[in-house]
């Protein structure tokens, strides 16, 4: 990734991608759309490029748009017959079948109540259908998915969530040096945290939320200040 990405605005034609598309197969990610032979941006933000030929617009967003395969945090809203209705922060509430949990059978239903927090994978999602979630992987094992008990839940922007989910994110490593904790990050801009005590949990949550406000340039400062949060 280049350090100075060009900012594109909606309606901008991206000639560079059109040029590339003449010789190679180009993948247009979120924020870009194809209009006949032209490539036009539909969102405002820096244009990102991943080798060999994937382009997208990295715009600021808080509202989650469901996509297949995403790992999301959802809050169970209600039970409706054979499924649970889960709020994942999208336009529609998602549904999750009670059989989509490890070792769940018709007789052995999972113990989920409205208000519970679950970490699930999006099975099916598109603009025209309601998203569907599962809490098992393709071989029927739960892995890291399922109910998240206790801990603290808060929301952030999608950009912050994605940044934390990157490999080698310096933030999480820096926080681990300070104190042990458990974290679940959903790509839908929701984070769940659990540390040994309430004070530590809130301190960590404040540190992560501060990143969003501070503009990400002060990771080290925030991690040093974590000590102050704990003293307070």
């Amino acid at each position: 990734m280049t350090s100075t990405s060009t900012i594109v605005m909606p309606g901008d034609r991206i000639a560079a991608i059109e040029e590339l598309a003449k010789s190679k197969r180009v993948i247009l990610g979120p924020g870009l759309r194809r209009q006949d032979e032209t490539v036009v941006a539909s969102k405002a933000g820096p244009l990102r490029h991943k080798e060999p030929s994937t382009f997208w617009v990295d715009n600021y967003q808080r509202r989650y748009i469901p996509a297949r395969g995403d790992l999301v945090l959802g809050i169970v809203r209600s039970k409706a017959g054979d499924l649970y209705r889960v709020d994942i922060g999208a336009a529609d509430t998602a549904s999750i079948s009670y059989l989509a949990f490890e070792s769940a059978t018709k007789k052995n239903r999972p113990d989920l109540n409205p208000g519970d927090l679950i970490y699930a994978r999006v099975l099916n999602a598109s603009a025209d259908i309601e998203p569907e979630l599962v809490c098992v992987n393709s071989v029927g094992k739960r892995g890291k998915l399922g109910l998240l008990a206790e801990g603290f839940f808060f929301k952030c922007s999608l950009n912050l969530g994605r940044m934390l989910l990157r490999e080698n994110c310096p933030v999480l490593a820096a926080l681990t040096r300070e104190l042990p904790y458990e974290i679940a990050i959903g790509v839908n801009g929701r984070i769940w945290l659990k540390a040994h005590s309430l004070r530590e949990t809130i301190a960590l949550a404040n540190a992560i939320v501060a990143l969003e406000q501070a503009g990400y340039t002060e990771i080290d400062k925030i991690c040093d200040n974590l000590g102050d949060f704990l003293q307070a």
Partner: protein, 236 residues
Amino acid sequence: MNLPGKMDVEKDKLRQMHCEFNPLSRCDGSVMYSQGATVVIAAVLGPIEVKTQNLSIDGSYLECNYRPKAGLPQVKERIREAAIRDVLELALLAEAHPRSKMSVQVQELEDRGSVDACAVNSACLAMLIGGLPLKCSFAAVHCIINEQGEYLLDPDQSETLHQRASFTFAFDSVEGNLLLVQTKGAFKIAQFNDIECLCRAASAEIFQFYRSQIAKYHGRSEAIADQKEEPSSMET
């Protein structure tokens, strides 16, 4: 946010624009935007759940609300809402999110002239930062003909006291098409054409402002992208 005092701006220049992104925490995108001393806050929510009566399988439903600084919304505010909604509908890529609603809320904080144009511009900025899919961005410019017959671009409220005619134009960013025309008062067609050209030229400045504000907003987060690639490099 400090309100700028009445500065001496030439009559064919826009007043100073200022914007602050995301002052509100509960919506999907918001902006506090000012042109001179006129200030508005705009917020967007979307795509969100829509009532069955407004549900459309072809695209999203666009709702627009404008609230005055004092008192309940009256017919005057409904006219503003309709004007803003018409412009937004042309720019929004509704097909991207069928069966949903995009809600745009504009709150007037201070009306010191050209508040229609200000409201439209703030709605555009809110949609840009809220991540709504758009076909283009748009900008509105307000211009008046004063008693002496001069054209005053983006007038302050004190300058509009004895205006002969008032014009609000909105343009799109891609081809410069006219999206909105609101006129009041008596004028000749030649004057209308001149003012349209003047406003179109001014709208380029507004589009540049949008671009620079978005760039500045993302400039904060560029540093972390760099830090991830080269953790040992100097901070930008």
